[in-house]
């Protein structure tokens, strides 16, 4: 264990590496990790020896499954479906306007109970809170759920 600790604490050969303390994004155990980043890229994930849930342990997903963050498939701009039936990149301004119109039109046509929100168990709590607030403050209904039923 002591050796492992030393290895993990070895100074990184290349300078310019930043450590950011955060929590693993996979299961619900809540392992503390340090993201190692350089030139604005994640180059590694280390388990935190003082993480209250994991005490320095980490599984294969938490340790290695982070390249998706920089994957070329990441969405970089908002998309809207146009008359050709396909999704096209657009500005935030237009996407937000189309989304706002989409919800308002449905509300006008079918009433406020016709809108439903599905929140995530992956996003931060602040996102979940604002999802339910969007539905409750926006429409006065409780038509909101998360994915824990599936």
């Amino acid at each position: 264990m002591a050796l492992l600790q030393e290895l993990r604490e070895l100074p990184l050969i290349n300078s310019g590496v930043t450590k950011t303390r955060t929590v693993c994004g996979y299961c619900g155990v809540g392992c503390s990790v340090d993201i190692l980043s350089k030139d604005d890229h994640i180059i590694g994930v280390q388990p935190a020896m003082d993480g209250p849930a994991n005490l320095g342990a980490l599984c294969v997903k938490g340790q290695f499954a982070y390249d998706y963050v920089h994957h070329p498939d990441r969405l970089k701009k908002p998309l809207v479906r146009r008359e050709d039936g396909k999704l096209h990149e657009t500005t935030w301004e237009e996407a937000l306007q189309v989304a706002a119109d989409g919800f308002r039109k449905v509300e006008q046509k079918y009433g406020r109970h016709a809108i439903y929100g599905v929140s995530s168990g992956r996003t931060p709590t602040e996102a979940d809170y604002l999802m339910q607030k969007f539905i409750r403050a926006g429409f006065g209904t409780h038509n909101i759920d998360n994915c824990s039923r599936a």
Binding site: V29, F103, A114, H142
Partner: protein
Amino acid sequence: MSNPLSDLEKADVYFCIGTNMTECHPVAATRMKKALARGSKLIVADPRYIKLAEMSDLYLPLRVGTDVALLLGMAHVIVRENLLDHKFIEERTNGIEEYIAHVKQFTPEWASEITGVPAKDIEKAAIMYASADKASIYYTLGITEHICGVDNVQSLSNLALMTGHLGREGCGINPLRGQNNIQGAGDAGTAPSDYPGYQSVLKPENREKFEKAYGREMDAEKGITKVTALELCGEGIHAMLIDGENSVVSDPDRAHTEHAFGKLDFLCVIDIFLTETAAMADVVLPATAWGETDGTFTSTERRIQRVRAAVTPPGEAKPDWWILSALANSMGIQGFEYDSPAEVFNEICSLVPIYAGVDWDLIDGGQYQWPIPYKGHPGTPRLHEDGFTNGRAVLRAIGYRDPAEVIDDEFPVWLTTGRRLQNYHTRTQTGRSSGIDYLAPEEYLEVHPDNVQKWGLTDGGWAKVTSRRGEIKIKVKSTPRSPRGTVFASFSYAETPVNILTGSGYDPTTHTAEMKVTVVRVEPL
């Protein structure tokens, strides 16, 4: 979880049921392994001979969907052997007489008939669990993803209550949550029945509080669940906003889900990739990923922890809190003038009693586990130490019922589903991580070697699996991990969409789908 993760190192006896802990919560399993190395005992109930079963002192290979019968048989033995904690029962529970009368009819022999577990092993498990000083229960979706999920959980609760294995170190009823922040999502009020902090929408005082906070009138009745909403798409529900969920692949009965989304007038999806679900949307809003976002997650042990941005998001991707605020502002919805996630978190703390004792600055070190009812309170690592929130706990008389679908001549094989170590959910993330893709590039059906031979399959060859809802093509892997007559596959791969097959039924109370039991036909291809 009723107890903290540190208690995983403190029990004398562990009863793990419906949890594949070494694959799905590997770090939690690591902590339990330490206790096992020191001589603690492990009982495992699972239809599959998983790694945890290999590690166990007593393995109960129950047939899928028969947990209630097993737990009734165990309760019967605990009563018969007089291993009840009379003091705990008297001080903290109601309904013991009716409960004892109820379980008297369910002998281990009766339970054995249904579960397939030898009666003597049911007796042994009951005695090991009940006579231990510190005994804890761990479970996951193997307990809840059934039409009788609530019955399963209440049956486990009965065992803990009758033996007093609750509210103490190394005891408790501990569901390990599957997603990094599914606890936080519940805490934040993303449910049709509760405002943030599990404050019921049915109570007038809660409605008043949130009407005041949000500046508008709210319904006095509950909303509908996601399951009901999907059924009502096109007939009552006409627009959806989905944040970070790939329902098309993760939900049961994929054809039904796709059909439902197809009937919406308007679908808006917030995500980091163009998932199968996002591809059906009218508007897709690009979100920041883990490592690019500041905020909080709440873990399975109710620990509130900070997540921090380490790198810049790609292109114009934005944090979810920013996207939702911008959308609300575009629609003229009041109260979304946020400049940071800290402001959002502090608003939660102001409205949620279990978060009342913290704020954004206080949680920086991650030492708080809710409830934290007031500033200066140290948090609550272990629940129910001094009593139950609702007064006394009730021992409930629960009966066994068959799963929604039972094998017959047409569909003679049980299919159960779950996760694998290397992959997460629908692989939108792990499928895009090169090392993981190398370790586990494709899905396979786990079939017992005897069944491989009997059904004319070949190890590594292809099979067609058919249920009442559809069929898939999948590679076969011969393994004694699967019991005879039961096959297993994970739901992670869009290329092998196992959830085309599932969706036989739902728990009537929670609307959780019976993902763990589907009847199928397996044929060589």
